[in-house]
Amino acid sequence: MAEKKTLRQEFTKGLIAENPVLRLVLGTCPTLATSTSMVNAIGMGISVTIVLLCSNIVISLLRKVIPSKVRIPAYIVVIASFVTIVQLLIKAFIPALDEALGVFLPLIVVNCILLGRAEAFAGKNSVIASAADGLGMGIGFTAAVFCMATIREFFGNGTLFTGADSLLGLFGITSFTGIEIFSRLPESLNIEPILIFILAPGGFFTFGLLMAVANRLAEKKGKKKADLRGCESCPMAAACALKGGCETEIKEEVAAQ
């Protein structure tokens, strides 16, 4: 914390400058796995944002009560509770989304963004700042996954917003089920979707391209490239802090070889 940021800055930093996916390289697993369709991406994004907002607020509220020795298990309990609550609510009200996100819904628990923000921000800052941070980071995550999903769904399936009725059904709208694009093109063009974009390789590929674009933009602004920063980007960043910095240990290990 070099300088005090305004509330607005806390919120907006997560959107672009410190975008959790494209700049901090956190939460890569759910980014890749749930960006197969735009609707899944929005569903996952909203779920993560809600959990992040709630857990940031609660952890910030409890930051003076939680003894620092057990803060990691305490954070995990708080995060896991909110994840389970969100999971139960989605099961009850948007069952189609629960089916689509599958195991990645409970896996929000180990999403690096959540524990990372709890440890790096909410555990040290005021409630309102933490809420702004959580909301900004959540929306930044959603935006990045949504970007990826748009590319993957458009090229891979030839549609946009397919399956939108599962989300909109919540508001009583079931008529809009997505936009078919490729199948509407004249048949003489003979354009088929590039299926591999929604399969696993397409996920890695699209992520790589997005990353390249993000790096290029960052470079233009004279900022550092995003890269995996050893321990910091892996899920147990917080546990490393607990152990007194295993990043240095790994570096030493690598150097020793």
Partner: protein
């Protein structure tokens, strides 16, 4: 019966590879795959923890949570159990098998909440709920298979990355972007395994 278990292991390694097909454990896959030694060390620790975690969570789920209608607590209970387990294993290794500790020790805290570990546990529970014949042994084989799949992906990818080091890469693709594109190509090769296991053991 042996055929059944071999099929489970091979499916977990090839067709349902955790990293390349299911997108679980991407962070260590990208972060610790630069050198073969660290890649193997990390994978060994993952296999070890996956097997331990399954051995502990399976009975908890079957005899504690499900009979008491507490299945909704799975996520929170499993993650705490895994976290505690890793700490215990670490202490035990340090005390009793220091040689193993020096080999795996530094990776252990990294994988406490690695999504692959919680993922394999949750997927086992899901499979067991859907198919009554998927019991303890099947869960264990599935976990070890998933870990071996992680090892395979890590070893292959560290080989690819060592080639990347000396390659002439356009500036805008350097670093993470080219790593991801390389991962994409490795993942394509695993698409080819679709149906192989069913054809052998079908």
């Amino acid at each position: 019966m042996i055929k059944y278990y071999i099929a489970i292991v091979l499916t977990a390694i090839l067709t349902e590879n955790f990293v390349l097909a299911k997108f679980l454990g991407i962070c260590p896959f990208l972060g610790v795959s630069k050198k073969l030694n660290t890649a193997v060390g990390m994978s060994m620790a993952v296999i070890f923890v996956m097997a331990m975690a399954t051995a502990v969570t399976y009975p908890i789920n079957k005899f504690l949570l499900i009979p008491n209608d507490l299945a909704y607590l799975q996520t929170i209970v499993f993650i705490l159990v895994i976290a505690a387990l890793v700490q215990l294993v670490e202490i035990a290794l340090k005390r009793f098998i220091p040689s193993l500790y020096s080999a795996l020790g530094i990776y252990l805290p990294l994988i406490t909440t690695n999504c692959a570990v919680l993922g394999v546990v949750l997927l086992n529970v899901e499979k067991a709920a859907a198919d009554a014949s998927f019991g303890f042994a099947a869960s264990m084989f599935n976990s070890v298979g998933a870990g071996l799949g992680f090892l395979l992906a890590m070893v292959m990818f560290s080989g690819v990355r060592s080639k990347l080091e000396s390659a002439d890469i356009p500036k805008f693709m350097q670093g993470l972007p080219i790593t991801l594109v390389a991962a994409s190509l490795v993942s394509v090769s695993f698409l080819g395994f679709g149906g192989v296991v069913e054809n052998i053991f079908g």
